[in-house]
């Protein structure tokens, strides 16, 4: 059973087309990675899913058609979208950022427990819990963005280049955390990455976009052994 299904989606900005007939699926409790060069349409794909871009075709969450729903409705249905770069609330504290991530939930006691869990996952955030998010470093903000997305207890989490601009050690930590969350809570993930190595290591399935079209899809293992992918995205 697939949590998220994208079927024949085309989208663009104004009259400029970006995506052509793109299809992909994220299975229950699995991780899918979406690879592609700059401008291939990876971010647009995520934006279509979270309702920020108009599209033709079909996007289904647990079989339910999302077409025509606004981003806030889609988020409340269980799609968490960690946008690229800084999507944090810069003038709210770290703790308030995490709390507002749980906006769709009503289980007060569990929300408090989950905030603690985020601090366990990202100890740096605990040290800075009372600081405004705008004063965090890039790496800390990225952790906060992931933590906030997890607070939504999503059915599926969309992450746009979570490793962008981070030191290699921090990237390792981040991916380890993502894998742990995926295994322990069964949250499905669709991760967009340019640095493909780590993403492919933790992913079940992989897709490759080129200038708006899906050119390759399969299990993460198959895709990582593809010669073209190795040359273009894995640096060997």
């Amino acid at each position: 059973m697939n949590v998220l299904e994208i079927k024949g989606v085309s989208a663009g900005y104004g009259r400029i087309p970006v995506l052509h007939d793109v299809s992909l699926a994220v299975g229950e409790k699995s991780i899918a990675v979406l690879l592609g060069a700059n401008g291939a349409g990876k971010t647009t794909t995520l934006r279509a899913v979270s309702g920020m871009v108009k599209y033709t075709g079909q996007i289904l969450l647990d079989g339910k058609d999302l077409k025509g729903l606004g981003p806030d409705r889609i988020a409340r249905l269980g799609i968490a979208h960690g946008v690229q770069g800084r999507g944090t609330f810069s003038d709210l504290t770290v703790e308030d950022n995490l709390a507002v991530g749980a906006f769709r939930r009503r289980d007060k006691a569990e929300i408090a427990a989950d905030i603690e869990q985020m601090y366990a996952l990202f100890p740096r955030l605990r040290e800075r819990r009372k600081q405004k998010a705008g004063s965090l470093s890039g790496g800390e903000q990225q952790m906060l963005a992931v933590g906030r997305a997890l607070m939504l207890k999503p059915r599926v989490m969309l992450l746009d280049e979570p490793s962008l601009g981070l030191a290699p050690v921090i990237i390792d930590d981040l991916y380890e955390a993502l894998q742990r969350v995926n295994r322990s809570q069964g949250i499905a993930m669709l991760i967009v990455e340019q640095n493909a190595n780590l993403a492919l290591e933790i992913a079940n399935d992989a897709y490759v976009l080129e200038t708006g079209s899906m050119v390759l899809s399969g299990t993460a293992r198959d895709v990582s052994e593809n010669d073209g992918v190795r040359a273009a995205y894995l640096g060997n």
Binding site: S50, M52, G70, P71, D72, R73, A75, R76, A80, H81, V83, G87, T88, F89, S90, D91, L92, D96, A99, V100, G101, F103, R104, K132, G134, S135, L136, S137, G138, R148, M151, L152
Partner: protein, 293 residues
């Protein structure tokens, strides 16, 4: 010396009124990034609603309550029907729209209730008492108590409730707020409704003090902006302190600089504000968010 302290006490009373309208300005600015020039005229409208209720024989406190609720609904509608469509345009467009709202409310109040002066009864008894040599009347004490109550209520709402966090999140980053499921339009409408409620309170405090006419809040909105600017338009504490600064300096200038006359007594408070803006352009309590790369 006693005369000096009495002036300060009186100044605080006026300052509390400027602060309550200033708080409304800050609330709208913080939730929707808009400086609402119509806030004063909306407050005048609230005072007229209360007057109308009293005129129809509704008990005073009920009249005030109804006026506040009606004002909040009108605030929500003003956002949904008018402000929403221009919210993401440039600042000048938004300024013109709120100035248009100013004229609309001003003319509406005049058209319905006329330009003759009406009198709105005071909710406070005509009593005063003395502490040492200082005299406090019930109105002054009541005004300060109400200001403390609404600022505390607003602080608790914004800092310690789920709705408050969502309101602050929407103001901070609209896209991210929607992506965690916060209904952005509803938050903005609630922000305008709450601000209109706060503005109504200040209108209801001013109404009995002055006489009720369509231009009642004309000077007060300027003092309220001055008060809010002391806090950089973003700080609730700043608006309260700013209100006190404006109120006290105004009272002192009336008492000690009588040659300025009633038309020029606005000079001292405004000079103080200009001084604040020159020395600390972000206001005494305003926050400039430092963003790290």
């Amino acid at each position: 010396m006693q005369y000096f302290f009495q002036q300060i006490v009186n100044g605080i009373g006026d300052g509390a009124i400027y602060a309550s309208l200033g708080l409304a300005l800050v609330l709208i600015y913080r939730t929707t990034n808009i400086a609402n020039f119509a806030q004063g005229e909306m407050a005048t409208f609230s005072a007229y609603i209360a007057w109308q209720m009293v005129d129809w024989g509704v008990p005073l406190w009920w009249s005030f309550l109804i006026a506040i609720v009606v004002s909040m609904i009108v605030g929500v509608l003003a956002y949904l029907l008018l402000v929403r469509s221009v919210q993401h345009r440039d600042e000048l467009t938004i300024v013109i729209v709120t100035l248009g709202l100013f004229l609309a409310f001003n003319s509406f109040n005049g058209a319905i209730w006329g330009f003759l002066q009406l009198s709105l009864p005071s909710p406070f008894p005509e009593k005063s008492f003395a502490i040492g040599a200082l005299r406090f009347n019930a109105e002054l004490v009541g005004t300060i108590v109400i200001l403390i109550a609404i600022s505390t209520g607003m602080f608790l709402l914004l800092q310690h409730t789920r709705l408050g966090t969502a309101l602050r999140a929407s103001a901070s980053n609209a896209t991210s707020a929607m992506l965690v499921g916060v209904p952005f339009t509803a938050m903005m409408a609630i922000g305008w409704g709450l601000a209109a409620g706060l503005g109504a309170v200040s209108g209801l405090l001013v109404g009995p003090k002055l006489t009720l006419d369509p231009n009642m809040m004309g000077a007060i909105i300027i003092y309220a902006f001055a008060a809010a600017v002391v806090g950089g338009l973003t700080s609730y504490r700043g608006a309260v302190v700013g209100g006190a600064i404006v109120g006290i300096s105004q009272a002192l200038s009336m008492a000690y600089l009588p040659w300025l006359g009633s038309d020029l007594q606005i000079l001292l408070p405004l000079m103080l504000i200009v001084a604040v803006l020159i020395i600390k352009p972000e206001g005494l309590f305003g926050s400039t968010v430092v963003v790290r790369v």
